[in-house]
C-alpha cells in the first residue's frame, strides 16, 4: 500500500500535464452546467488557458534533466512530451478556429471546448502509455469525444450522417484493435509493450504476434484513413463542422502516429518482414489512390480529406524509410515527428480559413463558392494559397522541409522506388492543391455575396500564427528538426 501511495505521487507529479488538462476540462464542464448557455466565452477562455498552461508545463518538464519516472502505465519521456506539445497545439488552434466558426454560425455551445480537451486527454493516454489497456482506453476516449464533435451540428443532416458513419467505422476499428490486443494477451499473458518486446523472440510462436500486430495496425489505419481503410474519410470530413474536421485531420493522426511509433519501436514491428510488406502495400496504395481521387473532387473539404489521406501515407512512408538493412532505427522516427508538426500547421491554417466560409447560414466549401474570393479578400486567399503551396511541398514552406527530410532519409536507406513514387505524387498533388487558388483568383464570382464576409479576431489569430510558422519553419527547419531528434527514441 505504501508503494501504492508512492506510485500515486509519481503519477501525479509525472503526469502533471495530463492532470492540468483534466482539471481544465472538468472546470469547463462545471461552469457550463452551472450556467447553461450563458458562459460560453469564459468557458472558451478557460479552455485555451488550460491548454497554454499544459503547454508550458510540458516544456518545463522537457527542460528537466531527469524526468520523473512515472509509472509504467504512463510513460512521460521526451517522445511523449513532444507529442503532447503537438496535440495541445492542435487543441489551441482548433478552439480558436471554433470560436470564429461559432460566432459566424451563431451557435456557441460550451461543451465543444470540454470535448476538445477530453479528446486531447484521450490522445495523450493513447500515445503515452506502455500498457495496451491504457492505450485502448485513451483511443476510446479520443474517439468518443470526436464522434460527438462530428455530430455536434445537430440540425445539419450531413453532420448527423457523418457522425453515424464515423461512429460505426470507429467502432469496428476499435474492435479490430482490441482483438489484436487480446491476441497478444492470449499468447503472452501480458499487455505491457516492454514485456511483450522481451517475450516475442523467445516464444516459439510464429504468426500469432504478427497477426496481432496486423490487427492492431488495421485499427490504427482506420483512424489514420490510409488506403484501403480510407473510404469513410471524405464523407465524414465533409459532414463534420470545419474546425472539427481540422481537429480530426491533425489531432487523430498525430495521436495515432504517436502510438504507432511507440509500438513499432517497442516491439520491433518493422523487423517482421510480413508486416513490412503490408506497410509497403498500404503506402503505395495510399499514395496513388489518395492523390488521384483528390483530383476529381468538387469540394474543398473533400479534397482536403483525400489530401490528408495522402499525407497519412507520407508519414507512414516516413516510418518505413527508417528501415535499414533488415533493422529499424528508432532514431529515424524524428522525420515523422517533424513532418507531423508541419502537417499540423498547414492543415489547421487551411481549415481556419475554411471555417470562415459561410453562405445562407451553412458551410459553403464547394469550389464554386470560392469564385471571386481572390478579389474580395485577397490577403486571406493569398494565405490559403500559401498553405496549399506548403502542402504541395514548395521550397520555403514547412511542407518542403518535411517532405525533404522524409525523402532524403528514404534515399539514404535505399528505398529508392518508394521515394520516386513520393516525389511523383507530390507533383501530381500540385494539380488539386492549386485548383482552389486558381478558382479564387482567376474566376469571377457569379455575383451574390462573397463567401467570407467577416473575420473574427480569434480566427485571424490562428491563421496568422499558422502562416507565420509555416514560413518560419520552412526557412529555418533545423532547430525544430533538432528538437525532434532529441525527442526521438
Amino acid at each position: 500500500m505504501e508503494t501504492n501511495i508512492q506510485n500515486l505521487l509519481n503519477i501525479l507529479v509525472g503526469g502533471i500535464t495530463i492532470w492540468i488538462l483534466c482539471a481544465g476540462a472538468l472546470l469547463c464542464l462545471l461552469i457550463d452546467a452551472l450556467w447553461p448557455r450563458k458562459m460560453s466565452v469564459p468557458v472558451y477562455t478557460i479552455g485555451i488557458l488550460t491548454l497554454i498552461v499544459t503547454l508550458c508545463s510540458a516544456w518545463y518538464q522537457w527542460l528537466q534533466p531527469d524526468l520523473p519516472a512515472a509509472q509504467d502505465l504512463l510513460v512521460i519521456d521526451l517522445h511523449t512530451l513532444f507529442f503532447i506539445t503537438l496535440v495541445v497545439l492542435v487543441g489551441i488552434l482548433t478552439i480558436l478556429n471554433a470560436l470564429g466558426y461559432m460566432q459566424l454560425h451563431n451557435d456557441l455551445t460550451a461543451e465543444f471546448c470540454s470535448l476538445i480537451i477530453f479528446s486531447i486527454i484521450g490522445m495523450v493516454f493513447f500515445f503515452s502509455s506502455d500498457h495496451l489497456l491504457i492505450n485502448f482506453i485513451g483511443l476510446e476516449t479520443m474517439s468518443l469525444s470526436i464522434y460527438v464533435l462530428v455530430g455536434s451540428h445537430k440540425k445539419n443532416f450531413k453532420s448527423n450522417e457523418a457522425a453515424i458513419k464515423y461512429f460505426i467505422i470507429g467502432g469496428v476499428a476499435s474492435a479490430i484493435f482490441l482483438y489484436g490486443v487480446a491476441m497478444f494477451y492470449g499468447a503472452y499473458g501480458t499487455l505491457k509493450i516492454s514485456e511483450l518486446a522481451m517475450a516475442l523472440p523467445t516464444q516459439g510462436l510464429d504468426y500469432l504476434p504478427k497477426t496481432a500486430v496486423a490487427f492492431i495496425l488495421t485499427g490504427i489505419f482506420f483512424k489514420l484513413a490510409v488506403v484501403p481503410f480510407h473510404f469513410w474519410a471524405p464523407d465524414v470530413y465533409e459532414g463534420a463542422p470545419s474546425p472539427v474536421t481540422g481537429f480530426m485531420a491533425t489531432g487523430v493522426k498525430i495521436a495515432s502516429f504517436g502510438f504507432a511509433i511507440r509500438i513499432f519501436i517497442g516491439i520491433n514491428v518493422l523487423d517482421m518482414p510480413q508486416i513490412q510488406n503490408l506497410l509497403v502495400v498500404v503506402v503505395v496504395a495510399t499514395f496513388i489512390v489518395g492523390n488521384l481521387l483528390a483530383i476529381v473532387q468538387d469540394d474543398v473539404k473533400r479534397m482536403l480529406a483525400y489530401s490528408s489521406v495522402s499525407h497519412a501515407g507520407f508519414v507512414l512512408f516516413g516510418m518505413l524509410a527508417g528501415f535499414r538493412e533488415g533493422r529499424y532505427e528508432p532514431f529515424s522516427s524524428h522525420t515523422v515527428m517533424f513532418y507531423l508538426l508541419g502537417y499540423l500547421l498547414m492543415t489547421l491554417g487551411a481549415f481556419a480559413i475554411l471555417s470562415l466560409m459561410i453562405r445562407k447560414r451553412s458551410e459553403a466549401t464547394h469550389y464554386t463558392d470560392l469564385e471571386g474570393l481572390g478579389h474580395s479578400k485577397p490577403l486571406l486567399a493569398g494565405l490559403f494559397t500559401l498553405f496549399m503551396f506548403s502542402m504541395v511541398g514548395m521550397p520555403g514552406t514547412v511542407g518542403f522541409a518535411a517532405k525533404y527530410s522524409v525523402i532524403s532519409l528514404a534515399v539514404q536507406n535505399g528505398h529508392i522506388g518508394l521515394a520516386i513514387l513520393a516525389v511523383v505524387m507530390s507533383i501530381v498533388s500540385a494539380f488539386y492543391y492549386l485548383r482552389p487558388s486558381v478558382t479564387m483568383f482567376f474566376k469571377k464570382g457569379a455575383g451574390g455575396c462573397p463567401v467570407i464576409q467577416e473575420i473574427p479576431f480569434t480566427s485571424s489569430a490562428s491563421i496568422t500564427f499558422c502562416a507565420f510558422t509555416v514560413i518560419y519553419l520552412g526557412l529555418n527547419p533545423d532547430a525544430f528538426i533538432k528538437l525532434a531528434k532529441i525527442a526521438a527514441f
Binding site: 501504492n4 500515486l8 477530453f118 468518443l144 492470449g186 510462436l205
Partner: protein
C-alpha cells in the same frame, strides 16, 4: 475446468452469434445475441472469473441489450426496408475471407505451446482480487474510464437531447 461444459457453452456462443448475423428480423437477432451473452457468462464461470461472468449478464444482457432493443424499435425497420439488394459476390467474398481468417487463426492458436497453468490461486477472480488490483496497479486506468464514461454522458445528452429553447 470441465471440457464438456466448455464445448457446450462455446458451441452455443458461436452458433448463436452466427444465427444472429443470419437473422432477417433484427429483434430475433438480438435475442440470439442475448443467448450468446449468457453462454459467454457460462464460459467465464468455467474460468473462475465469477465477477466478470455476472458483469457480462448485468451489463451486456441487461443494460446494453435493452438499449439494442430500444434502438431496433426506434428505427422500426419495416420488412420492405430490410430487403436490400443481395450481392452474391460480396457475400461469397466475405465468406471466403472470414473462412480463411478463421482457419488461419485456428491453426495459429493450436501452435501455442501447451502451458501448464497453475491451479487458480485462492481468491482468483473474486471481487476482492479485482478491486485490490484495480486500486493499486491500475488506478490510472480506473480514473480514465471515469473520464471516458463522462464523455459518454456528455455525448448522449448533447446528441440525444432535443433542444427546448426553440
Amino acid at each position: 475446468m470441465n471440457p464438456y461444459f466448455f464445448y457446450a457453452f462455446a458451441t452455443i456462443t458461436v452458433l448463436m452469434v452466427v444465427l444472429m448475423i443470419l437473422q432477417k428480423n433484427p429483434i430475433t437477432g438480438a435475442m440470439c445475441l442475448i443467448v450468446s451473452f449468457f453462454s459467454l457468462a457460462g464460459l467465464y464461470v468455467l474460468l473462475e472469473a465469477h465477477f466478470i461472468a455476472v458483469l457480462q449478464i448485468l451489463v451486456y444482457a441487461g443494460a446494453i441489450m435493452v438499449l439494442f432493443i430500444f434502438v431496433i424499435m426506434f428505427l422500426n425497420l419495416k420488412k420492405e426496408d430490410l430487403k436490400t439488394g443481395r450481392r452474391p459476390f460480396y457475400q461469397f467474398a466475405a465468406l471466403i475471407a472470414s473462412g480463411a481468417l478463421v482457419t488461419f487463426l485456428v491453426v495459429q492458436y493450436t501452435k501455442i505451446p501447451p502451458v501448464s497453468f497453475p491451479e487458480s490461486v485462492a481468491g482468483f477472480g473474486t471481487v476482492e482480487a479485482i478491486g485490490s488490483l484495480m486500486f493499486s496497479k491500475y488506478v490510472i486506468a480506473f480514473e480514465v474510464i471515469g473520464l471516458l464514461l463522462l464523455v459518454g454522458i456528455i455525448g448522449a445528452v448533447l446528441l440525444g437531447k432535443k433542444e427546448n429553447h426553440d
